[in-house]
């Protein structure tokens, strides 16, 4: 008998969500930067470290709930982002929408399966895993082979003289009880997903991660970006545990890259998407 796997559930299920979200937005507005927000939360925390017997159980496979498309912000409706974009980033987003209305959609990360990076990886639709230890938490994503490390051993960020921008940036954090609080910077910004905004390298974020019930891990995320955003962009990122019956074949697998192509997707001259030539008769098509 084929083991069955559970279906996704609704994104944010709290009936008071609109009020909660508004409070969260206002909370972010109190601070000039994510770092200021982070330091305020750190002051409020009694014990910022975990002992091995305090490590929360975030084991298992997790996925973004809800149907397609999975927006970065679950409250996004159609192509109307909830990010308050400004300047060239607002213009870039508008260009994406105009092209889409004309039937031209190109995902810049389609070609080689490269990591979407942070923060886009949060919304990836394939399974996620969390490896929690007292000193580091790893967030792994199957789609695009994402690996993000959050250091909770008390270290600070990479010193500015040594820092450089990477796909997932530099994340540090601390624990407040069973809540993981993070600060991230030195990302490449970039694309958050199809019909979603681009962000800049000025991006910094604060996240509050917690397991709210046996089936749910959530992260409240505030993104500050002085180049791309007029105001902090608050979203709640929900991950639901994938139900696996005994014997389930599902694992977090290495995903794909250019060395194991099975469909080469290219950008068309007018900014759309299509397949490279194929006739399904030889290995070149793979």
């Amino acid at each position: 008998m084929t083991p069955t796997l559970g279906l996704s559930q609704a994104a944010v299920e709290d009936e008071n969500w609109p009020q909660i979200k508004q409070r969260m937005i206002e909370r972010g507005l109190k601070y000039e930067s994510a770092w200021e927000f982070y330091k305020a939360l750190e002051v409020d925390s009694e014990d910022t470290t975990l002992s091995p017997d305090e490590v929360p159980d975030w084991s298992g496979l997790w996925e973004r709930p809800g149907g397609a498309p999975r927006w970065f912000d679950s409250d996004q409706v159609d192509s109307k982002t909830t990010a308050n974009l400004k300047g060239e980033y607002a213009s870039m987003f508008n260009e994406i929408l105009v092209s889409a209305e004309q039937g031209q959609v190109w995902d810049p990360h389609s070609g080689c399966g490269q990591a979407r990076g942070y923060p886009g990886m949060l919304k990836n639709g394939r399974p996620h895993e969390f490896a929690v230890t007292p000193h580091q938490t790893w967030h792994l994503g199957q789609a695009r082979n994402e690996v993000r490390r959050i250091y909770t051993d008390g270290r600070g960020h990479t010193p500015e003289d040594w820092a450089y921008e990477t796909e997932h940036g530099d994340s540090i954090g601390f624990w407040n009880g069973q809540m993981l609080i993070t600060h991230t910077m030195y990302t490449k910004g970039g694309w958050t997903g199809r019909l979603m905004p681009y962000l800049s390298t000025a991006l910094e974020s604060i996240e509050i991660w917690q397991k709210t019930d046996d089936q749910t891990i959530q992260a409240d995320v505030w993104i500050y970006d002085s180049e791309a955003l007029e105001t902090p962009w608050y979203t709640r990122q929900i991950f639901k545990q994938i139900h696996q019956e005994e014997g389930s074949p599902l694992r977090l697998e290495y995903w794909w890259n250019c060395h194991s192509q099975n469909n080469i997707v290219i950008e068309t001259e007018d900014g759309g998407t299509t397949f490279l030539d194929f006739d399904f008769t030889d290995m070149d098509d793979q």
Binding site: L7, S8, S110, G272, T273
Partner: protein
């Protein structure tokens, strides 16, 4: 005659299911704009190969044309994780299996489509598009 009628009815039903699924589906790894999601083709043929891999599975099917020639079509599905969600195993579609498959054809006329549903020769429906998934 009755079997033929029932099979035709099944194909119509599953085609309609396919249309319902299409309205909510967007391919996860790349835009699906190369497929015409307002159109659906229903073809009967023989499985040549089932590439059960990330990021997208491909079902390669030989379709017999009315003039006696054969065209090899490719049907793009999602990766194994989504196939598992829908209960579709690699062994369900071995080479040589006779199937009727529905999909959204390429806009440019090349012989490929976005895979929607399959009916095997014994009438079994394979639909990896479980509700709410892309």
């Amino acid at each position: 005659m009755k079997n033929t009628y029932l099979k035709a009815l099944s194909i119509l039903l599953y085609t309609l299911i396919g249309f319902v699924c299409i309205s909510a589906s967007i391919s996860a790894h790349h835009s699906a704009e190369m497929f015409n999601r307002d159109e659906i083709v229903t073809l009967t043929g023989t499985v040549k190969e089932f590439r059960y891999i990330n990021p997208h599975s491909w079902l390669i099917v030989d379709i017999d044309n009315d003039d006696g020639s054969t065209t090899t079509w490719g049907f793009e599905g999602e990766g194994p994780q989504d196939m598992m969600h829908g209960g579709v195993r690699k062994g369900d579609l071995p080479p040589g299996a006779k199937i009727t498959i529905t999909g959204n054809p390429m806009r440019d006329g090349r012989p490929a489509a976005m895979w929607q549903t399959i009916i095997k020769e014994d009438g079994t429906l394979l639909n990896w598009r479980t509700p709410g998934r892309d």
